[in-house]
């Protein structure tokens, strides 16, 4: 083969642009049956939530609800199923072994992970916007059903906290996914920490024990965030919001997002892909 010239690799060629990687990751989240069903069911849950609120308003003569109430209610369906996207976009690559392909087409693995995070946050924002539009429509409908003037009581700070906290939970799901690289483990841990413990365990302890009121806001993002959002604790008790409340919130972010993300990133960057 003396005639053939040695093949040189073109190192001046542009790499895969980050925007394109992110678009591909969004596509990969939505192009499977599981992805489509998650979206469909979430849409149905949103419609159901709105339907129930309207029904209650229609049946109770003297009940009113404002935009704040609607926005609080409408993000609940989003936080039930959508974090699964944040988990499976990472763990699915290991489960289906598509990381063999993903990391050969873009060997800089952390860029792939960053593109996934962008895709997850874009999806979270898009669904929040949809939920808010639903909520605004619901607010108008509720007012006409209940026979009162619509109450637009959602201020910017409430809105930003709602969006920020929602994104924080998505980031937590994403970080746990990177840490465990296994769909079942990440799903179980995420829902235990984000949904089941606060609802079933913390709520009881918090109501009964003083030590729980001191401890839980150090370990739970919601319990830490609520005083900052509302100036009240989870039981509606008034709280003097100071540095301590902010430190607790930051501690929960570090505990559930920064630490698992750091360990997980290290694992992804160094592990063998096979």
């Amino acid at each position: 083969m003396s005639t053939s010239t040695p093949i040189a690799i073109d190192t001046d060629r542009p790499g895969v642009p980050f925007g394109r990687l992110s678009k591909v990751e969004i596509r990969k989240m939505l192009d499977t049956r599981a992805g489509r069903w998650l979206l469909i069911v979430t849409g149905l849950l949103l419609a159901l939530t709105m339907g129930i609120i309207l029904l209650v308003i229609g049946l109770n003569e003297d009940l009113t609800i404002g935009a704040k109430g609607f926005s609080d209610a409408m993000v609940i369906p989003l936080s039930i199923l959508l974090p699964v996207f944040a988990i499976t976009t990472v763990t699915g690559e290991w489960g289906q072994r598509t990381h063999l392909v993903s990391f050969t087409l873009e060997p800089r693995r952390l860029r792939v992970v960053a593109a996934k995070l962008v895709a997850v946050l874009a999806l979270a924002l898009a669904t929040i916007v949809v939920a808010l539009i639903f909520g605004a429509l619901g607010n108008l409908l509720a007012a006409s059903v209940g026979g009162y003037d619509p109450i637009w009581n959602l201020d910017v700070s409430d809105l930003l906290w709602t969006i920020g906290l929602q994104l924080a939970f998505f980031a937590m799901a994403f970080a746990l996914a990177m840490l465990f690289l296994s769909t079942p483990v990440a799903v179980v841990v995420f829902y235990a920490v984000a949904l089941i413990l606060p609802q079933m365990v913390y709520s009881i302890l918090y109501g009964v024990f003083d030590w729980a009121r001191d401890l839980i806001p150090w370990v739970d993002m919601n319990y830490a965030a609520v005083p900052l959002m509302t100036g009240q604790g989870m039981m509606g008790e008034s709280v003097d919001v100071g540095a301590l409340e902010w430190v607790r919130f930051v501690v929960t972010l570090v505990l559930w997002i920064a630490v698992p993300a750091a360990v997980g990133l290290r694992r992804i960057a160094r592990s063998e892909v096979k």
Binding site: S4, I7, P14, R27, R33, Q96, E106, E272, V273, K274
Partner: protein, 304 residues
């Protein structure tokens, strides 16, 4: 050009790849042959930057895989045809690859046509694909970005004989246009059909390498006679070592002309006289395979 130098990878006590060096040149299809667990896949994953090596280096055109920009357009890699999302259609899998590399979607149709997957097959989900169809899809994926170099792990696994010949002509054409191909197989006859150059690996070490013709030329001559005892006596009388061949006749340690010359002056009646066909390589390969298996058995027996 793929250059692998003194590559070593250990898992605990186990040396999966042990000081492996080789070169794959443009215009050639290089077959990487070895029994299961010999270290082929590990070596290929190291080349593609998926597995870190303990020591040694692997470069493509002088560059580490990690440093190749948009690598899909320069190196086509197929490491496991089943490592795709089972719920995606074949077409969607290629479309994702094309989008990542920044190619037009018409490239997807071209590749589907090249590997003979029909439009209706391309709309089926991967879980409904046979292994042969997955391999074709994997080849299509590796070729999407029109790379100059191909790295294929067991691409012929699951293909029927017609499929193996199809792959031979596909890769032959590719290499003739100046492409470099490294493909692995655990089956000698597959590699014999597809490859020009052979690298034989066993227990993490390279045990033979060279052109297929060289390696298959094997040692000596196959000779058969009406009276083989008499033939054996004549040959040993002339100082030519001969051993009984597997399928009858004798395997003589000399070239056919020398054997013919010795026999010509005697009353031995020959029924066959020809160069021994690849016996050297085949025997070596069988030996490798059975060594590995025997070792496994011993380990299992010892731990039981």
């Amino acid at each position: 050009m793929i250059t692998v130098e003194n590559l070593t990878k250990t898992y605990g006590q186990y040396r999966a790849v042990d000081d492996v060096s080789f070169v794959c040149r443009p215009g050639q299809v290089t077959g990487f042959l070895g029994p299961n667990g010999a270290g082929k896949s590990t070596t290929m994953r190291i080349i593609a930057g998926l597995t870190p090596a303990d020591s040694g280096s692997a470069t493509i055109g002088g560059v580490r895989y990690h440093d190749i920009p948009n690598p899909g357009t320069q190196v086509g890699v197929l490491l496991d045809a089943s490592a795709q999302h089972a719920g995606r259609t074949g077409r969607e899998i290629l479309a994702i690859g094309a989008q990542t590399m920044g190619l037009s979607s018409s490239r997807v149709d071209e590749m589907l046509e090249l590997v003979a997957l029909t439009p209706s097959e391309s709309k089926r989900r991967l879980r409904d694909y046979s292994l042969g169809m997955r391999q074709r899809l994997g080849i299509a994926h590796a070729l999407l970005g029109d790379p100059k170099i191909l790295i294929l792990d067991e691409p012929a696994n699951g293909l029927d004989p017609a499929g193996i010949h199809w792959m031979r002509s596909l890769l032959r054409t590719y290499a003739d246009r100046g492409g470099t191909v490294l493909l692995s197989s655990h089956l000698l006859h597959e590699v014999q059909i597809i490859a020009d150059e052979l690298i034989v690996i066993g227990q993490g070490r390279i045990v033979a390498e060279g052109s297929k013709d060289e390696l298959l030329a094997g040692a000596g001559t196959l000779v058969k006679a009406v009276d083989e005892q008499r033939l054996a006596a004549v040959l040993s009388g002339a100082g030519i070592a001969a051993t009984p061949a597997a399928n009858g006749g004798l395997q003589a340690d000399a070239d056919p002309a020398a054997v013919g010359r010795v026999v010509a002056g005697t009353d031995v009646v020959l029924t066959e006289l020809r160069p021994a066909d690849g016996a050297g390589l085949e025997e070596m390969f069988l030996q490798l395979t059975s060594d590995t298996q025997r070792e496994n058995t011993t380990i299992q027996g010892a731990s039981a």
